[in-house]
């Protein structure tokens, strides 16, 4: 997936000279995950800029760069460290268009990886997308595969609004698929039906889509056909797409890595429960991380939701009547 992201960056930098990249270690080093590998050599210092170690200044200055007429893409090394820039993202970037009543759109893309499974140090895996989903003015999207990542990033870079682009850390190397070499965009504001099914709807985003798909495989071996939905966009939420997918089966499982309480699964489950109330055959199940900090590497396999938990939840919804 990291190649797909690099591909999107390179493509858009070639097509639009207003695009500039800012972040820690993104220059000569090419980023801690190599997302920007080669871009410094290709586009030079003025378009690929290594920033001092200060997330607030990365985001805050990216907003200023946008106001100056450029299209900054900021990389934060791990989503957990966006907390250092929380005030700049939430109260500044997300508000500038509204505060200036349309004069200063904040066309800033903020890229950051998140999620567990690759034994990172503390705070590196934190899945905190729901904290950002609550912020009017900000878009929050999370691709689930290389192909999706490229198209969604290109789309985000052309979006007039600020986009927090959450990349699945464990997908960087593990997820592989053929990705078209040309530029393309995707309907990132619409849910994607990953596979069609009639018995139970599995709803996920980011790396959890893969988990949902594997659970769907397991369920299929039991004769259960799962409808797998990738939200793509966490905010704004594609309510119609979500409701249609939920109503398709009347039985829903929402899956994410973040802790249960006030995770974005709550919004998904609340929306379905309220708006598809009469179509629901069973309570919406949430398969999530527990209400605990993401642990050190040795315990992450216990923490992370797995196929068996998703399958068990799906079975519970199927057993309900």
């Amino acid at each position: 997936m990291i190649e797909a992201i690099r591909d999107a960056l390179r493509g858009e930098m070639t097509a639009d000279e207003r695009v500039v990249l800012v972040g820690q270690d993104i220059g000569r080093f090419g980023g801690v995950f190599r997302a920007t590998d080669g871009l410094h050599a290709e586009f030079g210092e003025r378009r690929v800029f290594d920033m001092p170690l200060a997330e607030g200044a990365i985001i805050g200055s990216a907003l200023g760069l946008a106001i100056s007429g450029l299209r900054p893409v900021a990389e934060i090394q791990f989503l957990g460290f966006t907390h250092q820039a929380f005030h700049q993202i939430v109260s500044q970037v997300a508000r500038m268009r509204y505060r200036s009543q349309g004069r200063f759109p904040a066309s800033v893309v903020i890229r950051a990886p998140f999620g567990g499974g690759v034994k990172t140090p503390e705070l590196h895996a934190d899945a905190i997308e729901s904290q950002y989903a609550h912020v009017p003015g900000l878009k929050v999207v999370a691709p689930s595969s290389p192909r999706e990542a490229k198209g969604m990033l290109l789309t985000a870079m052309r979006d007039p609004d600020p986009v927090l682009f959450c990349e699945p850390l464990r997908g960087y190397r593990l997820m592989k698929e053929d990705v078209p070499s040309e530029s393309y965009t995707l309907d990132i504001d619409k849910v994607r039906i990953v596979r069609e099914g009639t018995d139970v709807t599995l709803i996920a985003w980011s790396a959890a889509v893969d988990l949902a798909s594997r659970a769907a495989d397991a369920l299929l071996s039991e004769g259960v056909r799962a409808h797998v939905v990738d939200l793509r966009s966490i905010a704004p939420l594609d309510v119609d797409g979500l409701i249609a997918a939920a109503e398709r089966t009347g039985r829903c499982v929402v899956i994410h890595e973040a802790p249960l309480t006030a995770g974005f699964g709550a919004e998904v489950a609340a929306t379905i429960s309220c708006e598809a109330f009469y179509a629901l055959q069973a309570p919406v199940e949430r398969v999530t991380g527990p209400d605990a900090p993401f642990p050190l590497a040795g315990a992450e396999q216990i923490y992370l939701p797995d196929v068996s938990q998703v399958v068990a939840a799906a079975r519970r919804t199927l057993a309900a009547s």
Partner: protein
Amino acid sequence: MSVSLTPQFPSLAQRITPLQLLRPDGTLVGGAEAPLDDVRLQDALRLMMLSRAVDDKGVSLQRQGRFGTFSTVKGQEASVVGSAVALDPSRDWVVPQYRELPALLRQGLPLEHFILYYQGHPAGGRIPEGVRLLPIQISIAAQLPHAVGLAWGLALQGSDAVVLAYFGDGASSEGDFHEACNLAGVVRAPVIFFLQNNGWAISTPRSRQSSARTLAERAPGYGFDGVVVDGNDLFAVYAATSQAVERARAGRGPTLIESQTYRFGAHNTADDPTRYGHGDTLSGWIERDPVTRVQRYLAARGQWSDEIEVQVRHGIAATIDGALAAARSVPPPAAADLFTHTYAELTPRQVRQLRQLSTTPAAAEGR
């Protein structure tokens, strides 16, 4: 301990006195030349007086419930105006905090926008196309990284524009101040950090805000120059800012200017400055009133008189009345104003919420 170290980095603050060109009595400091001619100076004075008149009007409207909580400039007019007039509004930018009304006006913001804003109308945030100004910033110091990015971005695109960012002594304690200054030093952004040290952050005195002798001496820690100026001296502020503008325009990077001044009034209209000793030093500062200083200078040159003053005040009153009338003519906020400009387009949920709100009684009543 056998080794005794002499301080490698003693504070240099004792060695310096704030830059002053115009004394409180309106005479020039020996050897100084006036950096502004009489015509430009009269314009600047008019702007200072307009600012003070808006302050007074705003406070009285606020007491009548016809204006929201706002912070007066009173006492700091030389600091704001002296710096703002060093810019070229047709290319340079102002990035304000919330206490810099005359700088906003000088950049071209219509006064009625400012009034609407403090009357709580969402449309008050609008900045007309071509006015090089960021919105009023409520979150202390959060504007500073924006100013750096803006300055840097303009330079990257080949412009010779300069960005002037305002903030207070309190703001200098926020992490955003530090991160912004450090980044500006690294990219040599054409930005001026204009620190209005008005002695207070609400009730917190400067002495409690930091143990640094001056705030300007932080500049070498970011690789650029710091300057302390008498913030009630329009000439000194103008001269220091002009030099910083020149430097920035020439690609020689940022400057930190500490403008030492004093707010004459309360922190804002919700504040009670008698509770924290604000008055103890006030009278000394009132003797150094930035407006009368310029009036004295001009009067000594035959360029200011009671007649001129009356005329100027008339003009100012008319300006304010006109702006108030313009603000009154704007329709009250409606439900749509909550959503428009949140995103480029309304989200599906917003569309639905707008529909619901447009039919509730509160919306029907207008504000």
